[in-house]
Protein backbone atom coordinates (compact mmCIF):
# COMPACT_ATOMS: atom_id res chain seq x y z
CA UNK A 1 0.00 0.00 0.00
CA UNK A 2 1.40 3.36 -1.02
CA UNK A 3 0.66 6.39 0.98
CA UNK A 4 0.28 9.40 -1.23
CA UNK A 5 1.12 12.75 0.28
CA UNK A 6 -2.00 14.83 0.71
CA UNK A 7 -2.29 18.29 -0.72
CA UNK A 8 -5.18 20.55 0.03
CA UNK A 9 -4.76 24.02 -1.37
CA UNK A 10 -7.56 26.36 -0.76
CA UNK A 11 -7.13 29.79 -2.13
CA UNK A 12 -9.15 32.57 -0.71
CA UNK A 13 -8.38 35.49 -2.90
CA UNK A 14 -10.03 38.83 -3.26
CA UNK A 15 -9.88 40.02 -6.80
CA UNK A 16 -7.15 42.54 -7.26
CA UNK A 17 -7.39 46.06 -8.52
CA UNK A 18 -8.36 45.17 -12.05
CA UNK A 19 -12.00 45.10 -11.04
CA UNK A 20 -12.05 48.29 -9.03
CA UNK A 21 -13.86 51.25 -10.46
CA UNK A 22 -12.07 54.54 -10.13
CA UNK A 23 -14.78 56.41 -8.38
CA UNK A 24 -14.26 60.13 -8.16
CA UNK A 25 -15.58 62.12 -5.28
CA UNK A 26 -16.66 65.71 -5.50
CA UNK A 27 -17.02 68.41 -2.93
CA UNK A 28 -18.83 71.59 -3.77
CA UNK A 29 -18.43 75.11 -2.47
CA UNK A 30 -21.43 77.13 -3.51
CA UNK A 31 -20.66 80.79 -4.11
CA UNK A 32 -23.41 83.34 -3.87
CA UNK A 33 -23.83 87.07 -3.73
CA UNK A 34 -26.19 89.78 -4.79
CA UNK A 35 -26.29 93.18 -6.37
CA UNK A 36 -28.86 95.55 -4.99
CA UNK A 37 -31.14 97.40 -7.39
CA UNK A 38 -30.05 100.98 -7.72
CA UNK A 39 -30.65 104.00 -9.91
CA UNK A 40 -28.24 106.89 -10.25
CA UNK A 41 -28.86 110.20 -11.93
CA UNK A 42 -25.97 112.09 -13.39
CA UNK A 43 -25.36 115.58 -12.10
CA UNK A 44 -27.52 117.97 -14.11
CA UNK A 45 -25.67 120.10 -16.60
CA UNK A 46 -26.31 122.96 -16.24
CA UNK A 47 -27.53 122.72 -12.68
CA UNK A 48 -29.08 126.17 -12.94
CA UNK A 49 -31.13 127.41 -15.86
CA UNK A 50 -31.20 131.17 -16.08
CA UNK A 51 -34.02 132.30 -18.31
CA UNK A 52 -33.01 135.94 -18.11
CA UNK A 53 -35.65 138.54 -18.72
CA UNK A 54 -39.06 136.89 -18.65
CA UNK A 55 -41.21 139.73 -19.90
CA UNK A 56 -41.21 141.52 -23.21
CA UNK A 57 -39.40 144.82 -23.11
CA UNK A 58 -41.16 146.47 -25.97
CA UNK A 59 -43.99 146.23 -28.38
CA UNK A 60 -47.58 145.31 -27.77
CA UNK A 61 -46.58 142.61 -25.29
CA UNK A 62 -44.51 144.81 -23.11
CA UNK A 63 -44.73 143.55 -19.57
CA UNK A 64 -46.22 140.26 -20.63
CA UNK A 65 -44.25 137.10 -20.96
CA UNK A 66 -41.66 137.11 -23.69
CA UNK A 67 -40.97 134.37 -26.11
CA UNK A 68 -38.57 132.17 -24.21
CA UNK A 69 -36.61 129.60 -26.12
CA UNK A 70 -36.63 126.03 -24.80
CA UNK A 71 -33.79 125.09 -22.54
CA UNK A 72 -32.19 121.71 -22.18
CA UNK A 73 -30.45 120.15 -19.23
CA UNK A 74 -28.52 116.89 -19.46
CA UNK A 75 -28.20 114.32 -16.72
CA UNK A 76 -25.29 112.30 -18.05
CA UNK A 77 -24.66 108.60 -17.50
CA UNK A 78 -27.81 108.07 -15.53
CA UNK A 79 -28.56 104.43 -14.94
CA UNK A 80 -30.71 101.79 -13.32
CA UNK A 81 -29.27 98.32 -12.98
CA UNK A 82 -32.58 96.51 -13.03
CA UNK A 83 -35.47 95.98 -15.38
CA UNK A 84 -38.57 98.08 -14.90
CA UNK A 85 -37.56 101.64 -14.16
CA UNK A 86 -39.25 104.92 -14.88
CA UNK A 87 -38.43 108.62 -14.94
CA UNK A 88 -40.79 110.96 -13.22
CA UNK A 89 -40.73 114.73 -13.38
CA UNK A 90 -42.06 117.15 -10.85
CA UNK A 91 -42.06 120.75 -11.97
CA UNK A 92 -42.77 123.79 -9.90
CA UNK A 93 -43.79 126.97 -11.68
CA UNK A 94 -41.55 129.98 -11.46
CA UNK A 95 -42.97 132.39 -8.97
CA UNK A 96 -41.95 135.85 -7.95
CA UNK A 97 -40.04 136.43 -4.78
CA UNK A 98 -42.65 139.09 -4.05
CA UNK A 99 -45.14 136.90 -2.26
CA UNK A 100 -47.84 139.49 -1.91
CA UNK A 101 -51.04 138.86 -3.79
CA UNK A 102 -50.83 140.47 -7.22
CA UNK A 103 -53.17 143.23 -8.21
CA UNK A 104 -55.88 142.40 -10.72
CA UNK A 105 -54.40 142.07 -14.19
CA UNK A 106 -51.09 140.90 -12.90
CA UNK A 107 -49.53 137.53 -12.34
CA UNK A 108 -46.59 136.42 -10.29
CA UNK A 109 -46.15 132.98 -11.85
CA UNK A 110 -44.72 131.56 -15.03
CA UNK A 111 -45.79 128.12 -16.11
CA UNK A 112 -43.85 125.78 -18.33
CA UNK A 113 -43.51 122.23 -19.48
CA UNK A 114 -40.67 120.02 -18.28
CA UNK A 115 -40.05 116.93 -20.33
CA UNK A 116 -37.45 114.21 -19.74
CA UNK A 117 -36.45 112.03 -22.66
CA UNK A 118 -34.05 109.27 -23.71
CA UNK A 119 -35.02 106.80 -21.07
CA UNK A 120 -38.01 104.75 -22.14
CA UNK A 121 -40.25 105.19 -25.13
CA UNK A 122 -41.81 108.64 -25.18
CA UNK A 123 -41.14 111.24 -22.55
CA UNK A 124 -41.91 111.96 -18.94
CA UNK A 125 -43.73 115.26 -18.94
CA UNK A 126 -45.16 117.68 -16.43
CA UNK A 127 -46.81 120.98 -17.27
CA UNK A 128 -47.35 123.42 -14.44
CA UNK A 129 -50.63 125.27 -14.07
CA UNK A 130 -50.01 127.77 -11.32
CA UNK A 131 -52.62 130.41 -10.76
CA UNK A 132 -51.77 134.08 -11.16
CA UNK A 133 -51.13 134.42 -7.46
CA UNK A 134 -48.59 131.62 -7.62
CA UNK A 135 -50.67 129.02 -5.88
CA UNK A 136 -50.91 125.42 -7.09
CA UNK A 137 -47.48 125.64 -8.67
CA UNK A 138 -46.57 121.97 -8.84
CA UNK A 139 -47.28 119.32 -11.43
CA UNK A 140 -45.94 115.83 -11.93
CA UNK A 141 -45.80 113.23 -14.61
CA UNK A 142 -43.98 110.07 -15.50
CA UNK A 143 -43.32 108.17 -18.65
CA UNK A 144 -43.17 104.65 -19.91
CA UNK A 145 -41.34 101.88 -18.13
CA UNK A 146 -37.87 100.99 -19.29
CA UNK A 147 -37.91 97.21 -19.54
CA UNK A 148 -34.16 96.66 -19.26
CA UNK A 149 -31.27 97.86 -17.18
CA UNK A 150 -30.11 101.03 -18.88
CA UNK A 151 -27.47 103.68 -18.82
CA UNK A 152 -28.09 106.86 -20.80
CA UNK A 153 -27.90 110.62 -20.80
CA UNK A 154 -31.35 111.83 -19.81
CA UNK A 155 -32.31 115.09 -21.45
CA UNK A 156 -34.63 117.47 -19.67
CA UNK A 157 -36.27 120.10 -21.83
CA UNK A 158 -38.01 123.16 -20.45
CA UNK A 159 -40.42 124.77 -22.87
CA UNK A 160 -43.78 126.42 -23.45
CA UNK A 161 -43.32 129.22 -20.96
CA UNK A 162 -46.58 131.05 -20.29
CA UNK A 163 -48.07 133.37 -17.72
CA UNK A 164 -51.47 132.58 -16.16
CA UNK A 165 -54.04 134.33 -18.30
CA UNK A 166 -51.18 135.93 -20.22
CA UNK A 167 -51.32 138.64 -17.60
CA UNK A 168 -48.64 141.21 -16.97
CA UNK A 169 -45.90 139.80 -14.83
CA UNK A 170 -45.14 141.37 -11.50
CA UNK A 171 -41.59 142.68 -11.32
CA UNK A 172 -39.15 140.66 -9.29
CA UNK A 173 -36.96 137.62 -9.28
CA UNK A 174 -38.65 134.40 -10.31
CA UNK A 175 -37.57 130.92 -9.44
CA UNK A 176 -38.85 127.44 -9.84
CA UNK A 177 -37.54 123.91 -9.72
CA UNK A 178 -37.69 120.69 -11.62
CA UNK A 179 -37.13 117.45 -9.78
CA UNK A 180 -36.28 114.43 -11.91
CA UNK A 181 -36.67 111.07 -10.22
CA UNK A 182 -35.36 107.82 -11.62
CA UNK A 183 -36.59 104.72 -9.87
CA UNK A 184 -38.55 101.51 -10.00
CA UNK A 185 -41.74 101.61 -12.00
CA UNK A 186 -43.73 100.32 -9.08
CA UNK A 187 -43.12 103.52 -7.19
CA UNK A 188 -42.83 106.31 -9.76
CA UNK A 189 -43.97 109.01 -7.37
CA UNK A 190 -42.53 107.81 -4.12
CA UNK A 191 -40.59 111.03 -3.67
CA UNK A 192 -43.49 113.28 -4.54
Amino acid sequence: MKCKPGLALIVLAAFPATAIAQTTETGTVAVEGQVRPVCVLGDPNPALVNLGQLSANSGPRTGRIAVIAPRTVTLPASYCNFAGSVVSVTATALTSNDTSAPQPGFARAVNYTASASNWASGTSTATTAALRDGTVPTASGFGATQPLPKIADITLTLSSFTAPGDLILVAGNYSGTVVVTLGPAAFPNEDN
Partner: protein, 176 residues
Amino acid sequence: MMRKLMILAAPIAFLASPALAQTAVTGTVDINGSVAGRCMFTIPNKTISLGELSLASNGKLDASKVNGRSETLEGWCNNTAASMTVTTTQLTTATAAPTGFDNRVDYTATAVTGSVNANDTSLTAGAGSASTVGLFSGNIVVTLSSASSPNNGLMVAGAYSGNVVVTLTPTVALPD
Protein backbone atom coordinates in the same frame (compact mmCIF):
# COMPACT_ATOMS: atom_id res chain seq x y z
CA MET B 1 -0.65 -28.23 24.95
CA MET B 2 0.83 -25.26 26.71
CA ARG B 3 3.81 -25.14 24.33
CA LYS B 4 1.65 -24.78 21.27
CA LEU B 5 -0.02 -21.71 22.62
CA MET B 6 3.31 -19.90 23.04
CA ILE B 7 4.26 -20.49 19.45
CA LEU B 8 1.11 -18.94 18.15
CA ALA B 9 1.44 -15.84 20.30
CA ALA B 10 4.79 -14.69 18.90
CA PRO B 11 3.66 -13.74 15.36
CA ILE B 12 0.86 -11.60 16.72
CA ALA B 13 3.26 -9.41 18.71
CA PHE B 14 5.50 -8.79 15.69
CA LEU B 15 2.73 -7.46 13.54
CA ALA B 16 1.83 -4.85 16.12
CA SER B 17 5.05 -2.85 15.40
CA PRO B 18 4.70 -1.74 11.73
CA ALA B 19 7.66 -0.62 9.65
CA LEU B 20 5.77 2.30 7.90
CA ALA B 21 7.34 5.89 8.07
CA GLN B 22 5.09 8.65 9.49
CA THR B 23 5.03 11.20 6.49
CA ALA B 24 3.51 14.65 7.34
CA VAL B 25 1.12 16.21 4.91
CA THR B 26 0.09 19.87 4.82
CA GLY B 27 -2.85 21.80 3.64
CA THR B 28 -2.37 25.53 2.91
CA VAL B 29 -4.89 28.27 2.92
CA ASP B 30 -3.66 31.38 1.17
CA ILE B 31 -5.54 34.50 2.05
CA ASN B 32 -5.44 37.51 -0.20
CA GLY B 33 -7.29 40.78 -0.22
CA SER B 34 -7.13 44.27 -1.56
CA VAL B 35 -8.13 47.78 -0.66
CA ALA B 36 -9.52 49.83 -3.43
CA GLY B 37 -8.04 53.16 -4.11
CA ARG B 38 -10.61 55.56 -2.89
CA CYS B 39 -11.28 59.15 -2.06
CA MET B 40 -14.05 60.57 0.00
CA PHE B 41 -15.30 63.90 1.23
CA THR B 42 -16.32 63.88 4.83
CA ILE B 43 -17.48 67.48 4.53
CA PRO B 44 -18.60 67.72 0.92
CA ASN B 45 -20.54 70.98 0.84
CA LYS B 46 -20.00 74.52 1.99
CA THR B 47 -21.29 77.93 0.93
CA ILE B 48 -19.49 81.22 0.55
CA SER B 49 -21.89 84.14 0.85
CA LEU B 50 -20.28 87.17 -0.69
CA GLY B 51 -22.97 89.71 0.12
CA GLU B 52 -23.33 92.85 -1.97
CA LEU B 53 -21.12 92.58 -5.04
CA SER B 54 -21.27 96.12 -6.38
CA LEU B 55 -19.51 99.23 -5.27
CA ALA B 56 -21.80 101.86 -3.81
CA SER B 57 -19.68 104.54 -5.44
CA ASN B 58 -20.05 103.52 -9.06
CA GLY B 59 -22.16 100.38 -9.35
CA LYS B 60 -19.31 98.25 -10.68
CA LEU B 61 -17.97 95.01 -9.29
CA ASP B 62 -16.39 95.24 -5.87
CA ALA B 63 -13.68 92.61 -6.31
CA SER B 64 -12.76 92.85 -2.65
CA LYS B 65 -16.02 91.13 -1.84
CA VAL B 66 -14.78 88.04 -3.68
CA ASN B 67 -11.00 87.93 -3.44
CA GLY B 68 -9.67 86.13 -0.41
CA ARG B 69 -12.95 84.55 0.56
CA SER B 70 -12.59 80.88 1.47
CA GLU B 71 -14.31 77.82 2.83
CA THR B 72 -13.01 74.47 4.00
CA LEU B 73 -14.05 71.05 2.84
CA GLU B 74 -12.72 67.86 4.41
CA GLY B 75 -11.81 64.61 2.78
CA TRP B 76 -9.25 61.92 2.18
CA CYS B 77 -7.66 59.68 -0.40
CA ASN B 78 -5.93 56.40 0.38
CA ASN B 79 -3.53 55.92 -2.48
CA THR B 80 -0.43 57.63 -3.64
CA ALA B 81 -1.66 58.32 -7.15
CA ALA B 82 -4.78 60.18 -6.10
CA SER B 83 -5.32 63.51 -7.78
CA MET B 84 -7.34 66.64 -7.23
CA THR B 85 -8.92 69.00 -9.74
CA VAL B 86 -10.97 72.15 -9.41
CA THR B 87 -13.81 73.25 -11.67
CA THR B 88 -15.28 76.71 -11.28
CA THR B 89 -18.57 78.06 -12.48
CA GLN B 90 -18.83 81.82 -12.72
CA LEU B 91 -21.32 83.82 -10.70
CA THR B 92 -24.28 84.83 -12.82
CA THR B 93 -27.73 86.28 -12.47
CA ALA B 94 -30.70 85.65 -14.69
CA THR B 95 -31.29 89.19 -15.95
CA ALA B 96 -29.72 90.00 -19.29
CA ALA B 97 -26.97 92.59 -19.42
CA PRO B 98 -27.50 95.38 -21.95
CA THR B 99 -24.59 97.44 -23.20
CA GLY B 100 -22.74 99.00 -20.33
CA PHE B 101 -23.74 96.32 -17.83
CA ASP B 102 -22.38 92.98 -16.66
CA ASN B 103 -24.30 90.07 -15.21
CA ARG B 104 -21.34 87.77 -14.63
CA VAL B 105 -18.46 87.60 -12.18
CA ASP B 106 -15.45 85.49 -13.02
CA TYR B 107 -12.88 84.34 -10.51
CA THR B 108 -10.18 81.82 -9.78
CA ALA B 109 -10.64 79.14 -7.15
CA THR B 110 -7.68 77.43 -5.53
CA ALA B 111 -8.06 74.27 -3.46
CA VAL B 112 -5.24 73.53 -1.04
CA THR B 113 -4.60 70.46 1.07
CA GLY B 114 -1.28 70.20 2.77
CA SER B 115 1.31 71.46 0.33
CA VAL B 116 -0.70 70.51 -2.74
CA ASN B 117 -2.95 72.88 -4.59
CA ALA B 118 -5.11 72.84 -7.69
CA ASN B 119 -6.90 75.74 -9.27
CA ASP B 120 -9.21 76.78 -12.04
CA THR B 121 -10.51 80.00 -13.51
CA SER B 122 -14.07 80.50 -14.62
CA LEU B 123 -12.83 82.52 -17.57
CA THR B 124 -12.32 79.26 -19.44
CA ALA B 125 -14.56 76.23 -19.56
CA GLY B 126 -13.68 72.93 -17.95
CA ALA B 127 -11.56 71.87 -15.04
CA GLY B 128 -8.10 73.09 -14.21
CA SER B 129 -5.03 70.90 -14.27
CA ALA B 130 -4.95 67.91 -11.96
CA SER B 131 -2.52 67.85 -9.07
CA THR B 132 -1.34 64.67 -7.42
CA VAL B 133 -2.56 64.78 -3.89
CA GLY B 134 -1.56 61.26 -2.82
CA LEU B 135 -2.56 59.87 0.53
CA PHE B 136 -4.03 62.51 2.69
CA SER B 137 -6.76 63.13 5.15
CA GLY B 138 -7.81 66.54 6.24
CA ASN B 139 -8.86 70.00 5.17
CA ILE B 140 -9.23 71.20 1.63
CA VAL B 141 -9.31 74.95 1.75
CA VAL B 142 -10.98 76.61 -1.23
CA THR B 143 -10.05 80.25 -1.75
CA LEU B 144 -11.37 82.70 -4.34
CA SER B 145 -9.25 85.28 -6.14
CA SER B 146 -8.87 87.39 -9.30
CA ALA B 147 -12.49 88.48 -9.45
CA SER B 148 -13.55 90.37 -12.54
CA SER B 149 -16.57 91.23 -14.64
CA PRO B 150 -16.43 90.91 -18.42
CA ASN B 151 -16.60 94.60 -19.30
CA ASN B 152 -15.95 96.24 -15.97
CA GLY B 153 -19.46 97.52 -16.43
CA LEU B 154 -22.30 98.32 -14.12
CA MET B 155 -23.51 95.26 -12.30
CA VAL B 156 -27.04 94.16 -13.08
CA ALA B 157 -29.14 93.89 -9.94
CA GLY B 158 -30.11 90.46 -8.72
CA ALA B 159 -29.00 87.33 -6.92
CA TYR B 160 -25.78 85.82 -8.21
CA SER B 161 -24.68 82.21 -7.83
CA GLY B 162 -21.86 79.97 -8.96
CA ASN B 163 -19.86 77.13 -7.49
CA VAL B 164 -16.52 75.50 -7.09
CA VAL B 165 -16.35 71.73 -7.52
CA VAL B 166 -13.33 69.94 -6.10
CA THR B 167 -12.86 66.47 -7.53
CA LEU B 168 -10.74 63.81 -5.88
CA THR B 169 -9.82 60.85 -8.07
CA PRO B 170 -8.07 57.76 -6.65
CA THR B 171 -6.41 57.05 -10.01
CA VAL B 172 -5.72 53.39 -9.33
CA ALA B 173 -2.91 51.93 -11.44
CA LEU B 174 -4.35 49.01 -13.31
CA PRO B 175 -2.22 45.88 -13.61
CA ASP B 176 -1.43 44.54 -17.07
